[in-house]
Amino acid sequence: MLKPGEFYQRDREWHPPAYAPDYKTSVSRSPKYSLISLENTASEITGPVFGHNDIDPIDNDLLSNYAKPGESPIGERIILHGRVLDENGRPVLNTLVEIWQANAGGRYRHKKDTYLAPIDPNFGGCGRTLTDENGYYYFRTVKPGAYPWRNWVNNWRPAHIHMSIFGTAFAQRLITQCYFEGDPLIARCPIVNTIPDPEAIERLVAPLDLNATIPLDSIAYKFDVVLRGRRSTLFENRLEGN
């Protein structure tokens, strides 16, 4: 019988490097020494498990999870949906997906954000859900606005939604950002461009998904996430080697 084993090593040339000087904050926050490569132990192939008692059904609906009764946030109503898969192409089931974002004007509901665009009284800006038995998730929200940030004098973040995904193991833990097809700011963003491979950047751009729109209601974007895959072993599920 095949049993799950270690995770495939992370491709560090595909991910952004720690030190990426055009994203200035990374300069003093990047370790100088090499990471110590660790073969997986029980500490890495396990990770927290979440269930439906941890969250509420409304948590994935950013159009209503902070809105006053009968009201809704300003902005373009969108559905953000997709699947969480592993590198073997298998769906990752019942895994926690959390998102956060600015409102349609590009303002975050955060005590440290002082951008002059207004707070939307009906928009919190966060959501969470568990993938279903096919690894599928969806959120309803508004499309976030672009906003300026301090890096060079004139930097603007492309519209984006932050996403946190767990998988089944601490080794799969991932935070990333989802961008939207057709945004001219993507190619100009120093944070996007920390990723060296243009093909890797494309993986973070959600295409318009007309099939998933709700006519006369919400437009849809599809964003699939891939987490690290695992070896299958014919042997006893015991991790060997040093």
Partner: protein, 206 residues
């Protein structure tokens, strides 16, 4: 041309940014939205073993505290069992072994309460010294950083730990050892994390 391998590529990481709290700890961002936020109780009320507090600060390469960092902790219970279906053994009801830790926005200090984990089986029949796995994200950190916190009162187990012994430079191993102290009867471990510079913490590619 050979056939194509049909593996998918992992989604590339991006920084959690300065407003990670909105999504993962909205109370700290300044608003109340969920019935319950996740990750505030690592061990739960029924956990056996020694109750401890862990405190620290994350310091950047200029020597300044990092005030917008978020850490996640992942640990076994006092018997060395992870709350995960693939790990043999039982954990106490309510023990998740996972938690979220954010810093004070003014000082950068952080802390969490838990129980001290037990030793965990390593590879090839070895035992790993008690440790807490940490994952660190923040603005300016492009891929979350993994490290491990070990305990100063476990000198013998630490000396035999197969992961600590992978670190070729013996003087760097001490960056993973949290210092135990007694504060008015409460056991506190101090664990400062240096992202860069003198005594840079050892980070792992797991």
């Amino acid at each position: 041309m050979p056939q194509k391998l049909d593996y998918l590529k992992e989604t590339p990481s991006q920084t959690a940014g300065p407003y990670v709290h909105i999504g993962l700890a909205p109370g700290a961002a300044g608003f109340d939205i969920y019935r319950q936020e996740l990750g505030w109780d690592i061990a739960g009320p029924n956990a056996e073993g020694e109750r401890i507090r862990v405190e620290g600060i994350v310091i950047d390469g200029t020597g300044s505290p990092v005030k917008d960092v978020m850490l996640e902790a992942w640990q076994a219970n006092s018997k060395g069992v992870y709350a995960h279906p693939e790990h043999p053994g039982e954990v106490e009801e309510g023990f998740r072994g996972w938690g979220r830790v954010i810093t004070d926005f003014e000082t950068g200090e952080w802390g969490f309460d838990t129980v001290k984990p037990g030793p965990v089986p390593g590879r090839s029949g070895t035992m790993m010294a008690p440790h807490i796995n940490l994952w660190i994200v923040a603005r300016g950190i492009n891929v979350g950083l993994n490290t491990r916190l070990y305990f100063s009162d476990e000198a013998e187990a630490n000396a035999a730990d197969p992961v600590i012994n992978l670190i070729e430079w013996e003087n760097r191993r001490q960056t993973l050892i949290a210092r135990r102290m007694d504060r008015d009867g409460q056991i506190v471990y101090r664990f400062d994390i240096r992202l860069q510079g003198e005594n840079e913490t050892v980070f792992f590619d797991i």
